[in-house]
């Protein structure tokens, strides 16, 4: 069965600094999708970034980028120039081919220090 592991329950970063959140997953599939979602105190889950496994190029969305290492089954999120509004729970998620079912990690709580 597929699993998603986030080994960092909590991280802290100084405002304007860079932080990397880790995520590893386990699958026997070769084609799949990976996501990072952000959940601020307002509770709404917001898509941060997604990566298709068949793409070698790492996805980037403004200050957010990923380091996708397919062989190592690693999918880390880098946040550059951290802002106070980045403080939230961050969830890594996996979706296999031909299915709608997402598997979420346990989340990493990011604190941004002024």
């Amino acid at each position: 069965a597929q699993t998603v592991t986030q080994s960092q329950p909590e991280m802290s970063v100084q405002e304007a600094e860079t932080v990397t959140l880790s995520c590893t997953y386990d699958t026997s599939e070769s084609d799949y999708y990976l996501f990072w979602y952000k959940q601020p105190p307002s509770r709404q889950m917001i898509l941060v970034i997604r990566q298709e496994a068949y793409k070698q190029q790492n996805a980037t969305e403004n200050r957010f980028s990923v380091n996708f290492q397919k062989a190592a089954k690693s999918f880390s999120l880098k946040i550059s120039d951290s802002q106070l509004g980045d403080a939230a729970m961050y969830f890594c998620a996996y979706r296999g081919p031909g299915t709608y079912k997402y598997i979420f990690g346990t989340g990493t709580r990011l604190k941004v220090l002024a």
Binding site: Y33, F35, Y37, S42, R43, Q44, M45, I46, L47, R50, F91, P97, G98, T99, Y100, K101, Y102, F104, G105, T106, G107
Partner: protein, 116 residues
């Protein structure tokens, strides 16, 4: 992405009662889902809400406890029946665009239920 609205946003419920959560989307969507997020935990898929037919439930979730309706392509309800304190959770409605061939699910704001 679609705008997803949930009601209620938050509620405190008495043990043994039932509560219905509504999810309204501003456009027609093929796939709608209900997730549960227990306190401090990750998200777990409860079921897929199928338009015009019975919902598809995940292992550990049953229709008698979590009846779901989906009368059209923009609206769904989830009822949490005969609530106990263990049902205290955030319940999230989500919609899928391009699934299963494509892409991504998007979430409503969630409904935070506390059972006392």
């Amino acid at each position: 992405s679609a705008v997803i609205s949930q009601k209620p946003s938050r509620d405190i419920c008495q043990r043994g009662t039932s509560l219905t959560i509504q999810c309204q989307v501003d456009s027609q969507v093929t796939m709608m889902f209900w997730y549960r997020q227990q306190p401090g935990q990750s998200l777990t898929l409860i079921a897929t809400a199928n338009q015009g037919s019975e919902a598809t439930y995940e292992s550990g979730f049953v229709i008698d406890k979590f009846p779901i309706s989906r009368p059209n392509l923009t609206f769904s309800t989830l009822t949490v029946s005969n609530m106990s304190p263990e049902d205290s959770s955030i319940y999230l409605c989500s919609v899928g665009e391009g699934i299963p061939s494509g892409n991504t699910i998007y979430f409503g704001e969630g409904s935070w239920l506390t059972v006392v």
